[in-house]
């Protein structure tokens, strides 16, 4: 019969609508704008509406999610930023689309290079979020961020990130990627122990 398929599909939509109201009555206010509500609605056996109401609700991102890179700094005792980056330039070399620019810092007195970047730029409108920079950095100085809300109106003034925009504290890194952070800290502690043992033996 002509139009039978249309009627059948409208029936599916109608069922969906009714089920949404039944579920709303069953769970009440908990269903929307709460973390458990989002969690329940994103599962595969959800009944009724499953729309995530961004920007009021956000789907939690997995820990390994990566968007743009950022530079990790340690907070010194007086709140000063101690960048982990030594401006070795490995990340700029491995970056497939070549979107990292680094300027090395020279000691003003002797003119010899010191291990800290004078300037560090990433063109985030070129970056392809591959994570190679984070993978290859030997000093754990560059890591992938979770922040994706970075749309802006101007490419050149807002989307070429400089040192100031890239720098984020190590506590932030520990909060977004706790597993990686713990692994790295453990590896570093082990290395430190080995060094100590080596120096006493030698």
């Amino acid at each position: 019969m002509t139009g039978w398929g249309v009627l059948k599909s409208l029936w599916v939509t109608f069922k969906h609508l009714v089920v949404t109201y039944i579920e709303d009555l069953r769970y009440g206010k908990r269903r929307y704008f709460t973390p458990e509500g989002v969690e329940a609605r994103r599962s595969s056996d959800v009944r009724g509406i499953f729309t995530v109401q961004y920007p009021e609700e956000k789907l939690p991102v997995p820990e390994a999610f990566r968007y743009l890179p950022f530079l990790v700094y340690e907070e010194g005792p007086n709140g000063e930023k101690q960048m982990r980056c030594t401006s070795c330039g490995i990340c700029a070399k491995v970056c497939p689309p070549q979107c990292i620019w680094i300027v090395r810092r020279n000691d003003p007195q002797t003119g010899r290079p010191i291990p800290a970047p004078a300037a560090f730029y990433i063109d985030v409108d070129i970056c392809m979020n591959c994570g190679f920079c984070a993978e290859f950095c030997p000093f754990d100085a560059i890591k992938m961020d979770h922040d994706y809300e970075i749309a802006s109106y101007n490419r050149l003034s807002e989307h070429i990130y400089d040192l100031e925009k890239l720098a984020k504290p190590v506590s932030y890194y520990a909060s977004i990627r706790p597993t990686d952070y713990a692994l790295e800290e453990a590896a570093r502690a082990q290395k430190g122990d080995a060094k100590k043992a080596g120096s006493t033996a030698g």
């Binding site: 499953f50 920007p55 970056c127 392809m128 749309a151």
Partner: protein, 220 residues
């Protein structure tokens, strides 16, 4: 609407008699107009590369563009207000994009979605890729990412709505007298086919093909 916006709306600088408070609202025409424009943006159904898949995901029911008044993707440039350039802009595609932009009715907005559309992305030095659509048409919002997740795209669309709400009708080019000049269709270098020369290209191709065939025949 937030508390602050409501207070702003209800205190326009005019004296409202106390008995009419909370019953009338005075606002500027511009504000109402922009509010209407910002909440009825219809995107064009137009995708270029991998980013388009994320755009499709954004339009589907998990994220649902319709919540922002973007109802349906329009399949015609005449009916759409925003062009989401979602993907790699190849040299062969850029004349078509500029043509679509010229065909869109004003007011029109452009979103550069993803690294490719904003700056060329991974292919920024590719022989066949335009490094950024903003070299040809004006872009209103840039969304980094490769690809931007659906939520990042929604963030960009909300940023565009905010931009529209702040615009002044007096300064916008499409509310001025006279028609706007169309953007010239780009003709890029020798590796791009010039559409005006299709007939010539076809003729040359045909001649070479016949010559090759004849050569084969004589060789046998």
């Amino acid at each position: 609407m937030s508390e602050k916006e409501i207070t702003e709306m209800t205190t326009p600088g005019y004296e409202i008699p106390p008995e009419l408070r909370h019953q009338v609202t005075i606002t500027t025409l511009e504000r109402i107009y922009n509010w209407g424009r910002a909440n009825s943006l219809w995107p064009m159904m137009f995708g270029l590369a991998c980013c388009a898949i994320e755009m499709i995901a954004t339009a589907a029911s998990r994220y649902d563009l319709a919540r922002f008044g973007m109802e349906v993707m329009r399949p015609s440039p005449r009916q759409s207000d925003v062009l989401i350039v979602s993907g790699t802009v190849t040299k062969k595609m850029v004349p078509q994009i500029v043509r679509l932009y010229n065909q869109m009715a004003e007011p029109r907005y452009v979103i550069a979605m993803g690294a490719c559309a904003s700056g060329g992305g991974p292919f920024k030095e590719g022989y066949n890729v335009v490094s950024g659509i903003d070299k040809f048409i004006p872009v209103d919002v840039y969304i980094p990412g490769c690809p931007p997740t659906p939520q990042a795209l929604l963030n960009g669309l909300i940023a565009l709505q905010k931009k529209i709400e702040r615009q002044s009708l007096r300064d916008l080019p499409w509310y001025q007298k006279g028609a706007a000049e169309p953007i010239p269709i780009p003709v890029l270098g020798p590796d791009l086919m010039d559409p005006r020369k299709y007939a010539l290209i076809r003729e040359v191709t045909r001649r070479q093909a016949t010559q090759a065939q004849e050569g084969e025949v004589s060789n046998e």
